[in-house]
Amino acid sequence: MEKVIAGKTVSVNDEGYMTDFKQWDKEIGLAIAQEQNINMTDRHWAVISYLQDEYKKEVPLSIRKIRNSNVVDIKEFYQLFPQGPLKTAAKIAGIPKPASCI
């Protein structure tokens, strides 16, 4: 389905995850973050960039990858994105919902 985010029409799935990463830009990320009640800071963006880089490298995401990322530790990750951090961050990053159970 299609949705207008930050004035742009983008493809999303029924859970609101973008299905075409090429359509993503920072304004869209910001608008999704607002929907999730998250005030984006440089720290948030650092995590988002990391997730996008891993996605481009086709590395499946997990909490352990985050821990070993040297970008953010788990405690801060939960502080930045309190309600389901990996899912929320993936949504803002415009990448698919992580499929791992860890």
Partner: protein
């Protein structure tokens, strides 16, 4: 009337066993809850205490006897070394799917905000002291205290 509508708010997970497959099930469920924005607390009782016992937690094994899913005869499962072989094989597979080791998993769930409680009765029974346990546990509780921790709407309890 409740307006909770069945939403899961908190998982209270009781671990009573020390076989690796049960310990991992409990950890994955606790971590999975936090990853979904659900609170989680764990209560380690009886043999489950070994999962937070500093000297024992890195030496947990999977069960090769009385475990039909192993698909080996029970007699063979009881031979010396079988548990080690099976555990080594399983650990290799776990590494492949990015499953952390027991200590690392404890670090992850603790940092994720999971509360870790040791059962007072089981501690007394096994003569364990708090110093014997993983440093970051939240405390030693009675069953009643653990139930109190679970107070509130949308709390679910799991016994493993």
């Amino acid at each position: 009337m409740s307006d909770n509508k069945g939403e899961v708010k908190k998982m209270m997970i009781i671990l009573s066993k020390a076989t690796l497959e049960n310990v991992y099930a409990a950890f994955v469920l606790a971590n999975g809850a936090r990853m979904e924005g659900i609170e989680a607390e764990m209560f380690f009782t009886f043999f489950g205490l070994e999962a937070i016992h500093k000297k024992k937690l890195e030496h947990l094994h999977i069960a090769t006897v009385g475990n039909p899913a192993m698909h080996i005869p029970t007699m063979l499962g009881g031979l010396p070394g079988m548990e080690s072989i099976a555990t080594t094989m399983m650990k290799k597979e776990m590494e492949r799917i990015d499953m952390p080791g027991v200590h690392e998993f404890l670090d992850i769930i603790k940092a994720s905000g999971v509360k870790l409680w040791a059962c007072k009765l089981a501690m007394d029974m096994f003569h364990y002291k708090k110093e014997d346990l993983y440093d970051d546990i939240d405390g030693v509780l009675t069953v009643g205290d653990f139930y109190k921790e679970g107070a509130g709407e949308g709390t679910h309890m799991l016994f493993i």
